[in-house]
């Protein structure tokens, strides 16, 4: 089975569940649909032999970020009628953003078609044994040329940690 078929399977799952996520009234159903969308996107990463991105997507997004989302859904009092009123006003802004996004995507696909040797990454099939183990490659550059950046990331996380606590304090 060619890679593109696997891609389209994941793409269909992702698009359908993304549409369901937006249209569900129940916030919990939306959360479950969003998890499925993220899982399907992880599948696309896996199909592109991007193992590290797959792990990141599963561990960071599906488990980490979604825990945050579920916490918010659980703790925030969801007044359904008020939410609907709030979102109804954003309809035109959302439409504009959608049009811009679709135009961008169309531009990308159209400009790629002009270059004969390139196409969407989906259509380029590479034998799995010819793809280097990407996680090792990530580690090689992370602990090689980008070592300082890697250590600075820890400092940034420390700042984020203190910032998250400071935001909730009434006075420092």
């Amino acid at each position: 089975m060619p890679d593109s078929v696997v891609f389209y399977i994941f793409a269909v799952i992702a698009v359908v569940t993304a549409a369901l996520m937006v249209t569900r009234r129940n916030a919990w159903h939306g959360a479950v649909c969003l998890i499925t969308t993220l899982l399907a996107t992880a599948g696309i990463f896996l199909q592109l032999h991007a193992g590290f991105l797959f792990i990141v997507q599963i561990i960071l997004y599906v488990s980490g970020i979604m825990v945050l989302f579920v916490f918010v859904i659980m703790c925030v009092n969801l007044n359904v009628a008020m939410q609907q009123m709030k979102f109804a006003r954003q309809k035109w802004v959302a439409l504009m953003v959608c049009v811009v996004l679709v135009a961008q995507l169309a531009l990308i696909i159209w400009s790629l078609r002009k270059i004969p040797s390139q196409g969407l990454p989906v259509f380029v099939s590479v034998a799995p044994e010819r793809v280097p183990p990407t996680t090792q490659e990530v580690a090689k550059s992370l602990f090689g040329p980008y070592l300082l950046s890697f250590e600075i990331v820890s400092v940034m996380l420390l700042v984020a940690m203190i910032g998250a606590v400071a935001l909730t304090k009434k006075k420092m």
């Binding site: 945050l68 009092n77 996680t135 580690a139 990331v153 820890s154 909730t168």
Partner: protein, 125 residues
């Protein structure tokens, strides 16, 4: 069919099954709502509720979730490090790799001790 695409298809199957199974399990476990509408309101002499049952939650729950994500981001860097560690041992670079990771984790540990000291790692009072 490529042999390599079989795990991918299995994964796709699991992904498709996830929302259905999750919602069905939740439906089978939760108590069914048998009364609807006006029946939910207090009868005659009862005081009508002014707002919903969920009250205000401590902001610490949000801090806790945010801190969890921050530590998880650090964990993401541990994965490529751990996978490549065997290769570094073979190349006699393991000590350096260990020191780099200890420095990186040490910076985060400073934050962790700060959180512990200010009591942000315990639950709300």
């Amino acid at each position: 069919m490529h042999r390599a695409s079989i795990p991918l298809l299995l994964y796709a199957l699991l992904v498709t099954a996830f929302p259905v199974v999750a919602l069905l399990v939740a439906r089978s476990k939760r108590p069914a709502l048998t009364v609807l509408g006006a029946k939910l309101y207090p009868h005659e002499s009862g005081i009508p509720p002014e707002d919903g049952a969920p009250g205000k939650y401590s902001v610490r729950f949000f801090i806790f979730a945010t801190l969890f994500v921050i530590f998880e981001v650090q964990m993401m860097f541990l994965i490529p490090w751990a996978i490549s560690f065997r290769g570094w041992v073979a190349a006699h670079m393991a000590v350096f790799a260990l020191i780099w990771m200890v420095i990186s984790l040490g910076i985060l540990f400073v934050g962790y001790t700060w959180l512990r000291r200010h009591g942000h790692c315990s639950g709300p009072e």
